[in-house]
């Protein structure tokens, strides 16, 4: 048993339907978890793991 923060306050997770998913591509690895109550979304959390950097390339230059 665990308590989940929802739009209706903290609820026992045993009362909720749990749905999970993920996306994995070159840019990110993302996971999410949703809790539903009688067909209504009452909680959704998301974790995004960034994989790519922002790069700036210069020519004929060097860093010391």
């Amino acid at each position: 048993m665990a308590l989940v923060n929802t739009t209706k306050g903290e609820m026992d997770d045993s009362l909720l339907e749990k749905r999970e998913g993920d996306v994995d591509n070159d840019n990110e690895y993302t996971t999410w978890v949703e809790y539903w109550l009688d067909g209504e979304l009452v909680h959704r959390s998301v974790h995004v793991q960034l994989k790519k950097s922002v790069g700036l390339t210069a020519t004929t230059a060097s860093f010391e």
């Binding site: 009452v42 909680h43 959704r44 995004v48 793991q49 950097s53 790069g55 060097s62 860093f63």
Partner: protein, 141 residues
């Protein structure tokens, strides 16, 4: 590039500038011409504070160089960006890193798949701080 020439952004741990991370709607416009933070297009919702969260900077930038290889300077925040117990019902897909010590000038924009959050936490975890994967890299060729 011009802000490099004027040393606008100082990522030094402790004595450097303060950087923040704000979330932006999927419908917002942001690109290389985004020069500063603005509330236009920023997410709004329960427990989200305009301007976003302050970035943890526990490691100063690292630079590598030699006579035979290209040089790389790189930096990555040392903690995830966490937006706790928020409700953001309009889809968002980007985070803007900006320098709150320098007139909120933009540093970088990072995009991801469009998301919403309901009475939950949104966490954005950084890539590894290496020459090839650091969040921000400046390289010579």
């Amino acid at each position: 590039m011009g802000e490099l020439m004027t040393a606008t952004h100082n990522f030094t741990t402790g004595t450097g500038n303060t950087f923040k991370a704000a979330l932006f709607l999927a419908s917002a416009t942001y690109n290389a011409s985004t020069t500063a933070y603005s509330t236009t297009g920023e997410v709004t919702g329960t427990n989200y504070t305009a301007g976003g969260v302050t970035i943890t900077n526990g490691t100063s930038p690292t630079a590598t160089n030699s006579s035979t290889t290209a040089g790389v300077a790189y930096w990555t925040p040392t903690a995830s960006f966490t937006y706790t117990n928020v409700t953001l019902t309009t889809a968002f897909d980007a985070v803007l890193i900006y320098n709150s010590s320098a007139s909120n000038k933009a540093v970088s924009v990072h995009t991801f798949g469009s998301q919403t959050v309901t009475a939950g936490t949104f966490t954005l975890t950084m890539p590894s701080n290496t020459t090839t994967t650091a969040l921000i890299r400046l390289a010579t060729t």
